[in-house]
Point group: C2
Chain length 435, copies 2
Amino acid sequence: MASLRSWYSIPRGSHFSLANIPFGIISTATSTSPRVAVAIGDHALDLEAFAANNGFSGLSTIQPHQAVFSQPSLNAFAALGRPIHSVVRKYIQGVFAEDTPFPDVLKTNSTLQKQVLLPLKEVQAHLPFKIGDYTDFFAGMNHAYNCGVIFRGPQNALQPNYKHLPVGYHGRASSVVPSGTPIRRPNGQILLNPSAEKKVPTFSPCKKLDIELELGAFVCGSNEQGVPIPIEKAEENLFGVVLMNDWSARDIQAWEYVPLGPFNAKNFGTTISTWVVLADALEPFKARSLENDNEVLPYLREKDDKTVYDIDLQVDVKTSSGSTTTISNVNARNLLWSFPQMLAHHTITGCPFQPGDLLGSGTISGNSSAEYGSFIEQSENGKTPITLEGGEKRTFLEDGDEITIRGVCGTDEEALVGFGECVGRIEPALTLKFA
Amino acid sequence: MASLRSWYSIPRGSHFSLANIPFGIISTATSTSPRVAVAIGDHALDLEAFAANNGFSGLSTIQPHQAVFSQPSLNAFAALGRPIHSVVRKYIQGVFAEDTPFPDVLKTNSTLQKQVLLPLKEVQAHLPFKIGDYTDFFAGMNHAYNCGVIFRGPQNALQPNYKHLPVGYHGRASSVVPSGTPIRRPNGQILLNPSAEKKVPTFSPCKKLDIELELGAFVCGSNEQGVPIPIEKAEENLFGVVLMNDWSARDIQAWEYVPLGPFNAKNFGTTISTWVVLADALEPFKARSLENDNEVLPYLREKDDKTVYDIDLQVDVKTSSGSTTTISNVNARNLLWSFPQMLAHHTITGCPFQPGDLLGSGTISGNSSAEYGSFIEQSENGKTPITLEGGEKRTFLEDGDEITIRGVCGTDEEALVGFGECVGRIEPALTLKFA
C-alpha cells in the first residue's frame, strides 16, 4: 500500500485522515442530487463526479459498478460487498498518497481537484443509507447494570437472559435522521405519580428527555429468510460504523413498556453521524469487549478475542445560554456483545437482512459517572442533578439543549480514524389542541 | 353509482364480488414484471395492461397518474390518497356493472377482456407493498386477557396501561411475506426449566410455535417527523386491510422478552393475505369495538362509535396427514382499539409514517376457546391439547401443519367483501452445525 502521507492538505487532527476514508451521501447548493462521496480532511471527494471524470481509471474492478456512486444512498455500493469496499478505499488512499502511483488522476490535475473536492462546510451530508430495518440492542453492560440498579436494585440489576444473548428490540427505521436534524420534544402519556394505587396517565410533553450514546453498524450483506448468518460470516456482512444518539423519553417509556418493550419512547428520533467509517478502517482498532463470565452458546462464539472497537467517545451539551460542557468520556470497548454477535443472534431464527439495515449497540457507559452515556444514569433518574459549565443544572434535557457526540480512534494526529459529529438540538414540544 | 350486478361472470360466494375490488400486485409465467391488479371473481384485472389499452378513458382523474399501475408495489398508488382510491374503485365497479355507462371499455371488447382478465389460478400474487416499517399492536383485549391469565393469573391479567393506550411494538418489516410462503420453524434459545433457580438456556428448534390471528392495515398517508396525525385525520391515512398471521415462537419469547419486548420470537415470518381490501369497501361493515370502560385521553377519542370492522374470521389447520380442522371462528370486532386510534397513538410523539407502513391489530380472540386466535390460548400454553379431525392432538404447531386464515364481510353471496386466504405451512427447523 502507498504511504499514508498525502500530497493533499489534510489538517492535523482531522477525523478524516488518509487512514480513514469514510463514505457518505452529499449534495451542494449548486448540485442538489444526493450522491456518494468520501470525506478527506476538510473536503468531500464527490465520487460521482470523480468516476465520471475517469477517476477510477486505475481500478478496473469498480468500473462496471460506477453507477452506484450516483445513487442517493450507499445501499447499492454496500451491496457490492466488503472486498469491493476494501479495494475502493485502498485505491482512494493511493490516489491521495504522497507517493501516489496514479499522479495524473488527481495530484497533477488541478482542474479536476476543483471539480471533485468540495469544502465540507459547503456540503450537505444526508442520511447515508435508505434503512430497511433498524434494530437497537442493549449490549452496553454497564448501562444495563446502572439502569437495573435504578429500577430493581443491585441484586437483580441484570436480567437472567442478559449474559446469554444480546437483548434487543426492533426500532423505527423511519425515525432515523442525519446529524444536525432538530429533535422535537415528544408529547405522550406519562404517569405523574407512579406509586399511586390507581394508575391514571397524564398527557404531557416528555419531562425526562434523554440521550443514549451508541454506535450504529450498517449491514452490507443479506440472507435468505429462514437461513441464519453464522457467526464466522457475520463480520463480512458489516459495512461500517456511525455514532448514534437514540433519543429516549424515559417517562413515556416507563408507562408504556410493559409487556412489549419501548415503543413511542424511542420512535420520535434517532440521530446518526453522516460519514460511515468502513469496517476495514476500524480493523486496526479492534479490542477486547467486556468479559462475559458466562459461557455463551456455540452460535455466539467468536474465534477472535478482539471483537469490539477502541473508540474514544465524548458527549457535549451546549445549552441555549451558550455554555458547553463535556458530560461524558467513555470508550466503546464497554460492550458485552459485538456487532457480529448481534447479527448472528438476530438471524439465528432466520430473520432476513438487506444492505442498509442498521444495528444499534445500546448505550455505552463506563463504570464512573463521568463515563455514563445517558442522563438517566448521570442524574440517577432525576434524583441528582448534574452541574454544567456556568452553573446550570440538568437532570434531563431542556429545550434548546444541543448534544454533540464525537468519536475517534487513535492518537496520531495525522492518522486519526474519526466519525465527525453526531449533533441534535431539542425543540420545544408542539402545543396540541383537541376538539 | 351503477348497480353491483355484473355482466361478467363472478361466482356466487366469491370473496371478490363487485362490492369489493381489492388491490394487489401480480405477475404471470408469461409476463413476469410485478404490477398492479384488482381481483374480481376468479380473475385478476391487470391494471397496467388495462390502463395501457385506454381502460381508464372514462376517468380523467387517474390519467396523469397511470404509471402507478406499472409499479411493483402499491406504494405509489396508495400515496395518491383516499379520494383517488375511491374514484378508481368506483370506476372499476362501473366498468363491470351490468348497466355499465362504459360498455365499450370492456363489456363489448372481448379481445381486451382476454388480455387484461387473468385467471387467478394462473397469477402469482406478491407482497402488495414495499413495507417501510411494520408495527404490531396488542389490541385484541380478549387475547391480552387470556395471555395475562396464563402468565399472571386473572387478578392482574391486563397491565395498568392496557386500557389507556394501544400497546404495541415495532416489528421486522423484512420478515413480512405474502400468503403461500413456507415458514421455517426457527431455532433459538429456550429455557427448558423456567422454574429452576439457575436459568441456563438451551439451543433448540422452537417447541412452542404458534399463530396469531390478526388484521393488518396499510397506511397511505405520511406525516412530517415531529408532527402527529390527529385522530380525526387518521382514517384518511389508511389505505386498506389484509389478514395477517404473526407466527410466534412462544418459548423463545418467554426467555428473551424481558425487558425490551418480543424480538427473535417474532421476526422469522409474518404472513399477510395478498389482496388489500380498501377502507372504502369496508365502510359498510363498520361496527362497535369492545367497550373501553376507561375514559381515554382526548388524542385517542373518536367521534364515531363504529370504529372497527365486522369481519368473520376463520382459522383452519391442515396437517400433513391431510385432515383439515377449523380451530377458530371469531369476529374482528373483538378489538379494544381501532386502526385510527393506533395511528394517532403511534404518531403522537411525532413518529413519521410513509405510504406502505403496516399496522397489525394484535391477536383477535373471542370469549370462548372456539374463538381463540392462537394455540397458546387454545391449549392453555401447552397444558390442554386440542383434538383435530381424525384424532390428532395439538398443543402448538407441528412440522407440515398448514394454517389458512379466511375473512369475509357480509352474508349476501353475490356481494361479499372478502380477503381471500392467508396461508402458511411449517417447514422443519434447519439442523445447524457449529465449529
